[in-house]
């Protein structure tokens, strides 16, 4: 089945629908075009009172009623923080409230735990040293809820257990976050180029929520490194409406970077 929108566009629209009016959140760090598009699209459609803090810069931004600015890969780029900026604070003085947050990683496991530190079972001899933790340990603990989005859906990324846990999903399963008195509710969705996953309430294990149009169940199962919970009835991810696509392309992704981002 051929669609008239790109995978990254679909992912941005799916994430955008999760954000609520009046919220304050952050798009996270690198490869943030999808998260940023989701936030700006929400502001320009159903959530005109939602604002975002441009990551560690402490700049608070809002795009309603302003000229659109192209999506950029780095959230802390000067142009990105000035687009729609209404308050220029710094790391220390910015509001710490995060109703929502977006994360990616080197590995994500069945409980939504995230690893950005490195790949390998021996810390002293990593197969691949990653960038570190950034703000993952804190943000995943305190953000009201967060969304995991991945540019690939593969066994390498979606693993049974992360080699290092520096972003907190549901840790060991039900009750883990509660025992640690974490204020945030944890990961809500995992959105990939193939599907949307959520977490089953009783087990806090990742569950297939919907398949993107044209994607088969087998394709998702074959590319996931653990046993996904598969519901009896698997819906198809709701395609972007013409209004969502129009707004996304004319007011958010004006340089059209999303269509070619994920093949």
């Amino acid at each position: 089945m051929r669609e008239d929108y790109g995978k990254a566009e679909l992912m941005a629209v799916v994430l955008s629908r999760e954000l609520k009016d009046g919220e304050l959140g952050s798009p996270g760090g690198a490869y943030s075009q999808i998260a940023m598009a989701a936030i700006r699209l929400a502001q320009l459609t159903h959530a005109p009172n939602l604002s975002y803090v441009c990551s560690a810069t402490g700049y608070i931004n809002h795009m309603v009623g302003k000229k659109p600015y192209p999506l950029l890969p780095s959230t802390t780029d000067y142009r990105n923080i000035y687009a729609g900026c209404e308050a220029a604070l710094d790391f220390r003085s910015m509001p710490k409230r995060r109703d929502f947050f977006f994360v990616g990683g080197l590995q994500v496991d069945k409980h939504g735990n995230i690893n950005l530190l490195g790949i390998g079972d021996n810390y002293k001899r990593l197969k691949m040293r990653g960038p570190g933790t950034a703000g993952l340990a804190y943000a995943t603990a305190i953000a009201g809820r967060f969304y995991i989005y991945l540019a690939h859906h593969s066994k390498r990324l979606l693993v049974e257990k992360v080699d290092f846990l520096n972003g907190l999903g549901y840790i060991n399963g039900p009750g883990s976050r509660e025992r640690l008195a974490l204020p945030g509710k944890g990961p809500q969705l995992v959105v990939t180029p193939l599907a949307v996953m959520d977490f089953e309430e009783e087990t806090k294990r990742m569950r297939l929520k919907s398949l993107h149009p044209g994607v088969s169940l087998q394709e998702v199962v074959d590319n996931t490194g653990f046993e996904l919970i598969i519901p009896d009835i698997i819906p198809t991810t709701t395609a972007p409406t013409p209004e969502e696509l129009r707004c996304l392309r004319e007011q958010v992704d004006i340089k059209r970077v999303l269509p070619s981002m994920i093949k």
């Binding site: 690198a30 000035y82 687009a83 810390y123 197969k127 691949m128 960038p131 933790t133 603990a141 907190l168």
Partner: protein
């Protein structure tokens, strides 16, 4: 009456302030507002045995020092080039087990700075609870809140001997103006100053004090927290200086590809650091006025405002 003292020193003098074995903090964020010209001077003089603190994230600034073998201990929450790639020397050294890494979240660095700034031995945070960071970093101490019994983490103060920053502007007394995000520079300067360390701010331009007096609200780091000011035009290159010029992504990509092997890393050092005698010569080497104009224009937002 004695005169108010100028804090302006030369780049060479600034490099002379940094000693082997010190705890050195670098401000800015990833590849924004980094004191690159000063770091190149440190590399030239063969600095070594540093405890390097990133407040906050790092990229080429710290990766160069790692590649040089100058780092004894690394305290940084993120070291990488975002969409451009992973940090090549960090990878090589960390994967070979040759780097002592103080694994942390950005909030641990912030908490350690807050502790130093408040003259406290440590600071309390929720960051790290439930994560493997507590296993990997023995300095992050689990602590139970005595009121409600919540699991928390204590982070010891970090006390830099010297902190290095880059900002767009400042006057000769050390009043600093940022034109974009100051990131966590103010806190890092306060922490360093409070524990007796030296604060060095490189600026693209030294401005007249009158410009500071006209609108004191523009000052982002106040003079009592700054010990030295160094004027280095385009001193953040190849990083961006928020508000003045963008990141030289082509140069970053060249660095990332050359940093992957010791031999090509040496070629990079020779080409852009050892064989260059001044910042002016460096700017010529990386593309001269044409490149710099392009980087200035790259952050223009005129058509969108």
């Amino acid at each position: 009456m004695s005169r108010r003292k100028s804090k302006v020193i030369s780049l060479a003098e600034a490099a002379g302030l940094v000693q082997d074995g010190q705890t050195v903090l670098i401000g800015g964020f990833i590849y924004h507002n980094k004191p690159m010209a000063l770091i190149r001077e440190l590399i030239k003089k063969g600095i070594k045995d540093l405890t390097l603190v990133g407040c906050l994230h790092g990229a080429i600034d710290m990766d160069l020092l790692i590649g040089l073998g100058a780092i004894k201990k690394l305290m940084v929450p993120y070291l990488g080039f975002e969409h451009l790639g992973l940090a090549p020397c960090y990878r090589r050294f960390a994967e070979a087990g040759q780097l002592d890494i103080w694994e942390c979240d950005e909030i641990h660095i912030i908490s350690a700075m807050e502790a130093a700034a408040a003259d406290l031995p440590c600071m309390l945070t929720r960051a790290g609870v439930g994560s493997d960071l507590l296993k990997l970093n023995p300095d992050l101490k689990p602590f139970t809140d005595p009121f409600r019994g919540e699991p928390l983490v204590l982070v010891p103060a970090i006390k830099p001997d010297i902190a290095l920053f880059h900002a767009p502007k400042g006057d000769l007394y050390g009043n600093i103006h940022h034109l974009g995000s100051p990131f966590a520079d103010l806190l890092a300067a306060e922490a360093t100053n409070r524990c007796g360390g030296k604060v060095v701010v490189c600026v693209d331009e030294i401005i007249a004090p009158e410009e500071v007096w006209q609108d004191p609200r523009k000052t982002t780091i106040p003079h009592p927290l700054v010990d030295y000011v160094v004027e280095v035009p385009y001193g953040a290159h190849p990083c961006s200086c928020h508000g003045l010029y963008g990141t030289d992504e082509a140069h970053m990509q060249e660095y990332i590809s050359m940093g992957g092997k010791p031999e090509s890393f040496q070629d990079y050092l020779t080409r852009y650091i050892y064989s260059v005698t001044s910042q002016e010569e460096y700017l010529e080497r990386v593309g001269g006025i044409k490149k710099l104009t392009e980087l200035k224009r790259s952050i223009s937002m005129e058509e969108y405002l």
